[in-house]
Assembly symmetry: C2
Homo-oligomer: 220 residues x 2
Amino acid sequence: MSINPKREVFASLARVGTALSSPTRMEYLELLAQAERSVEQLATLTGTTVANCSQHLQKLRQAGLVVGRKEGLYVFYRLAGDEVVAMLSAMSRVGEAYVAEVDRIVRLYFAHKDELEPVPARELLERARKGLVTVLDVRPPHEFAAGHVPGAINIPVHDLEKRIKELPKRREVVAYCRGPYCLMSFEAVQKLRKKGLRARRLENGLPEWRAAGLPVDAGG
Amino acid sequence: MSINPKREVFASLARVGTALSSPTRMEYLELLAQAERSVEQLATLTGTTVANCSQHLQKLRQAGLVVGRKEGLYVFYRLAGDEVVAMLSAMSRVGEAYVAEVDRIVRLYFAHKDELEPVPARELLERARKGLVTVLDVRPPHEFAAGHVPGAINIPVHDLEKRIKELPKRREVVAYCRGPYCLMSFEAVQKLRKKGLRARRLENGLPEWRAAGLPVDAGG
DNA sequence: TTAATATTCAATCGATCACTTGAATACTAA
DNA sequence: TTAGTATTCAAGTGATCGATTGAATATTAA
């Protein structure tokens, strides 16, 4: 059949690469890493047409990165597994290390990344178990319900000001969101500090937390 | 300047994805992970024309995955860093887990992967330090010289039969090559066993060994 | 300076890609 | 069955990609 199995494997892996070669699809993957979504939901969230979204999803499916589940009229897509999150993280590390453009944007818009003293995942787990911090999930409720850090409180970042009383005043707050390129936890920390609370960011979002094998609760 | 930094980052990461969307470039990356190479060397090793090879290399360079070093008439390219190897490993894990085609090929041609009882890297490091195994690098001498497992013996797989006497008879041999999709160490183990030696494979190649932070010797 | 060599550039062609548009399919509820 | 909705399919367009070819550039040696 084949003379060179290595090249066959590379051909298949190149299809995975092709799936990762579109900014739109990267955004889909970030969203699907939070929770499963129907085609229309994804299209609405990203501002694309349904037909175009469907086509992108099929490319991702053919590459093995997402799987679909049909339920009645709807088809719900989700990431194939945590390995996909790990792969995206590895791509991010390459980008931040070697792509000048990525470094530039991160320095410009995520400058607070270091200033805000991000909390490593395992450190947060320990301190949360000891009751030393309040864990705050600032994503939309649907994504919170699909999986969140055990014990976390869900207040979407846009509701934060009016619902800030729900947070204990003295304990430090650690906020997290969708991932390293999601601005919601940055905004949240700024708002919390402005109100006089001690607040920091989790170093990454929930998908990376889950991919690291840390505990995740669902529902709520 | 920009309204959505996330999309800008994804746009840059998509360029990395584009660089990974060609089987030819995947092969270049595997070779450059072993040792730096000139354009012509790479072209010869992969059977492409020099002009085509040069164009591919520039795509890889624009994506930040490789860097070039000019020396006289030659330009030597190499991987930008170990993060690139980690990223390729993450892609391989996704492929093996979720792409049926990859799984099929691996089962078909690398079926011995489990039968040959691959040795984990850290286990090899320990056993080599205790002098319990002979470490055998079956790659071409140029790649061996650019970096190898400390204490390894270099016998290219094609010379193995006639140089087999160079190996201690009683000690188990652990062979390694370029990486998980390189057949050389599989061949080597088969040849060694046919000659009555105890032989196994290292689970991965030298690039993964180096990326894991394990010690590497050069020269020789 | 001249000749030789390694690499890159530029122009070209066929194939694929992203996106749009409009129709077809699959499923649900009345 | 019929109407309504979510998704997919199919065709078309402009853009990009991979590879080829031939010329241009940069460096070295005579």
